[in-house]
Amino acid sequence: MSKVGRKRARAGYGFISPSLIFYSIFFIFPVVFSLIASFKRWNGLIPLFSAAWVGLENYKWLFGSDLFVSSVINTVVYSVVTVVVGIFISLILAVLINGSKLSGFWRLLFFLPTVTPAVAIGTIWGYLYRANNGLINQILGWFGIKPIRWLTDPKTALLSIMITAIWAGIGMQILIITASLQNIPQDYYDAAKIDGAGSFRIFWSITLPLLRPILLFLTATGMIGAWQVFDLPYIMGTNAPAKSIMTVSWYVYETAFQSLRMGRASAGAFILFCIIFVANILVLRAFKKGGIEGYE
């Protein structure tokens, strides 16, 4: 390399060094630290280096634990349902809102839950879901439907929380989808109408294909967020049987900070990381097959 080339390379490294240092301190170090912890029997109260090395014991234990396996299943169900159903509802609402005169008002209305703290959402929905005097059961009662123990019946507890999560999350999705809808040139719709295409045909053949990149973005980011869900199940689901409601993040939190089993909790976090990683690879591949590239 020439002298000038070396100088430029040094300058380049100099420019990226702040990001590199930041990334190393706040990402690589904690990840390596918790990876090492996942192979140790460590309670967080003694130095990590003096904790006993247990190899894969923490991982083996987790896969043999009914509660952890249930929490993985609950998290899978929660992620798939909230992301898929949430995006589907958001897409329909965004298309409807996009053509309406009060588009701004509707977007604001749907966006409000997004800026509301999860604790407030969980508490308010907790009141709505109350079995004996909750609003939802009262409304169902008008139609002769018997009261449901939404948050304590193991059959409905996770479903109830997913409904709340979808309600709380669609605002942001609608906002992003409507912004993308406005970027689709009007010419395409005009041409389709001249060719005699109906509303559904226009949606299916023009709107949906042109929204695919943004739908990929929403699916991938939604999945990452949903896999890590902690707040709503923790706030709303403590009185339901844990196996029916607990998520992996909740399990990891409790294992780390209540049971003081940092090693086991780190192993759980790494299993969660692997699941998120594989799930997102699958989503990206599915979209790539559908002709969307650029997110590899």
């Binding site: 109260l45 079995a131 004996n132 018997k146 403590t238 009185n239």
Partner: protein
Amino acid sequence: MKRCILTILLVALLVSSMAFAKTKLTFAVHWSDYQVEGIKDKEGNVVTKGLRQYVEEYMASNPDIEIEIQMVPFGEYLTRILVGRLAGAASDIYVLYSLWGVQLVESGVLDKVPKEVATAIKNDFVEAAVGGATINGEIRGIPTEVANYALVYNKKILKAGGYDEPPKTWDELIDMASKLTIKKEDGTVQQYGYVYDTSSNSGTVHPYLARLYSLGGQLFSNDNKKCLLDSKEAIQALDAEIEIFRRGGTDSAATHGDFQNGRAAMVILAPWWESSLKIAFGDQYEETIGVAPIPPMKDPKSVSYTWFVGVDALSKNKKEAWKFLEWFCIEPLPNGATRMGEFLANNIGAIPSRKADLDAFPDKLNDLYTSVYVQELANTVPEPNVAQGEEIKNIIWREIIEARHQRKTPEKALSDAKRQIDEILSEFY
């Protein structure tokens, strides 16, 4: 010459600053704002002393000591200890829940209690509290409050149901609970006969333990090597709880909130609920709320948990920390009580664990609510201190919830709990 003078001045400055430097103690507490800052009137004057006023009093008489109060929410307290020690910024003094004790002691977090303090604790504090602060046979902190359980009932609901007295036995409670439950035509419950404290795992596990002890059962073998939840007494104690569900005296949707809203007749609560109930019932409090011992299944028993103050083993100022704690928790005032006792009774509304403190505040501890808890201290068994106590409590809590939802029989739920707990105990004993 100039250099010489400068050096002398620097050394003098260093020596003088060392001579006048204060010893700084950090005191991590889970108490809330008014408990630390004191209860104030509308003009902002302190009407009931908080921790800060006591600390200021100590600092005024010990000008070489500076005490910093660190307020940490209870839910983050254990995390604070962990993170503080990892970061080399551990507090000097902690207020600790007894159930955390074993792990903190075995991990070398807690300093040993000075001999004279340990002797004072043995002599002056109630047995349940001494038991709570004793870990592996050794006292590891000064007990502060002791919280046991009693039956709290709504006198008006009982009266309307034809009962002048609270239940005297657990069978009576089951019977009364089912009779006092009122269901509407649409299937919703208008009034519960009995509800559980659903705010934490303790609200479920502690009343269960009270029934277990009442039947003469134990949670662990004496050497802590075996969990005894497969015993006849353990199964009977849980079956007695599930019987309330079977007989319709409560259901899984019931919460302690129903009691506070006047829609439930009975609940088993700890003493610190008093303030919440006073707020909930307002001027109707005295004519509505009644307190009685937990109706026994056999012998009268309650269960307690304890808080104690301890010093971090890594503290550079252990001697000064213990000196402050002795002043705060052991040294008596002219009325025979300690400052901690005064603080607990007057500000927090908790039951002090020092015997003389219990007699010193009759207006606070002999009222209609707290007096029953104080009397029941004689029948109170402390929650056992074992390794992984919180993890074990969560396991029992979860299995009881499984049984309440009839997803498992009491036998199956307790046998599953025993299997998991035995695995934990085998790691440590």
